[in-house]
Amino acid sequence: MSELLKVENLSKYFPVRGGLLRRARKQLKAVDDVSFSIARGRTLGLVGESGCGKSTLGRAIIRLLEPTAGTVALEGTRITELTRRELFERRRDMQIIFQDPYASLSPRRTVGQTLLEPLETHRMMTPARRRDWLLELLEIVGLREHILTRYPHEFSGGQRQRVGIARALTLKPKFIVADEAVSALDVSVQSQVLNLLRKLQREFGISFLFISHDLAVVQHISDEVGVMYLGKIVEMTSASRLFARPLHPYTEALMSAVPVPDPARKSSRIVLQGDVPSPIDPPGGCPFHTRCPRVMEVCRVTPPPTVNAGSTEAPHFVNCHLFPVPNTEEDV
């Protein structure tokens, strides 16, 4: 299994301006020192609540936002160090699918114009070849040819999302960020689109960073899962491991909070108190200590280290004082 994307110590801070002279007085640490990698043809799911920085992370990786620190490497090329010209060339390898099918298509452009634009911009293929490729793409995402002359407002949310997926595929990317790609869709459409994404992965070997707040969706689509809280990844391991045995108290609470469509199962729910603290002024120590049901004295003071609570073959990284660093192993 070869590595496609490697993210190391990536951070994205936003200056919070205030005061008379609009000087940056504080920093909002939207993404704070995040590292992970994604193998070819695999999916990393990223879950967390709104404001945890998962969307910012996705955008910083493909440089829709300029990262503050850290590196991103795609097939060994450091994306974070490319010049504008070089970045333009690499854009075709990394694309993004958006959440809101109503906002992600330009309302005054036809579907055909929207889908042709990436190919024209990158001068890919001859016009005749483009036509064949677009028709092929429409077939793949389950749309018919006549929609090319239509405007987005004539379509349902599910159809628009398929157009958005087709647009991301036009350049034949190797890596796609799917930012809440199915969250705005109806249940029956959601399952269709999820299956479509899985099919694309099988057929084209695309790697996905799948960002979602919905744990069930993430489990369904991901090979690996990372859980984010206030800009940090607090737990990361394979999907099967995470859902079988979550370690971090936040992951546990998140899982127990998901409503289950089965009235017989009155779950023993861990209801977290309060809200997610503001990322401008995150709590000291472990950022989760203000809401953690298993908080200890040390959590309020010292940020927890990231340890591998699994094995070397099946790693399970967790960022919590409940799992202290074993003496024999090095800090990961």
Partner: protein, 297 residues
Amino acid sequence: MSSASVAAENTTIAVRGRDSLWSKAFYKFRHDRMGMVAFALVMAYGVMALGTVFGWWANDWSEIRGGRFDPISADFWFGSNVNGQDIFARTVFSTRTAFEVGLVVAILSTLIGAVLGAVAGYYSGSWIDELVLWLKGVLDSIPFYLFVAAVAFAMQGSAYGMHVAMVATFWTTTGRLVRGEVIKLKQFEFVEAARAIGLPELKIVFRHIIPNTFHILLVQATIVFVAAIKSEVILSFLGLGVKNGVSWGRMLAEATYEVGAGHFNNFIWASLFMFGLVMAFNMFSDALQDALDPRKV
């Protein structure tokens, strides 16, 4: 559009649409009765103005044909003025003056407002934005009539001092509205998608952002049109506007001497025609706004 896309369309990939937002807006506008009446009135004024351009009527507006203050008759539909000129011809010809000023100012100030507003909005927070905002602030802080007087003085002899002054001040409102809309639009995911493709920023602004402000531009152009006509009348009334032609404002200026003496024709007809056009255009503009509002489409 690039030659590549033109070629693409030739290979039978039809990407142009049929049922655009424009056709939806058109449908809505057609069902707005007041709007249609207003539009018909505006068109009637337009034909009136166009007729003078082609020399169909009212080209004798400056000729002295009758006597002093002739009453309304078959020859002088609206009577004659102090010089014995036909008030009807002068009123009609003034429509052309109004349209000339209105169209020139509306088109130019909308273009300038669109480009400056869009660029400022897209780069909001940067020095470009600061510069545009500063320019707008400076222009807005000068009293309008003082500014016109200054420009007219500076451009002495030119017939276009009034136009320049109006364009320089009227683009700011359009610019502000467009800037706000663009700041909103650039958060939209379709703009991010264009950036993810690697589309150059200026292309993003002109291809994806400005077209989505067309509804604002169109409505704003109609508002500026009305404002320009009103200003033209006032400026001409004050002697700062039309120099070598006739305008409702100049007719009203003449009327100030006449009304006291009991001669009302200049006053009544100039006011009535101006009122009719401004009113109709305002109603048309409102209907257009309703029809184009993307939230209601």
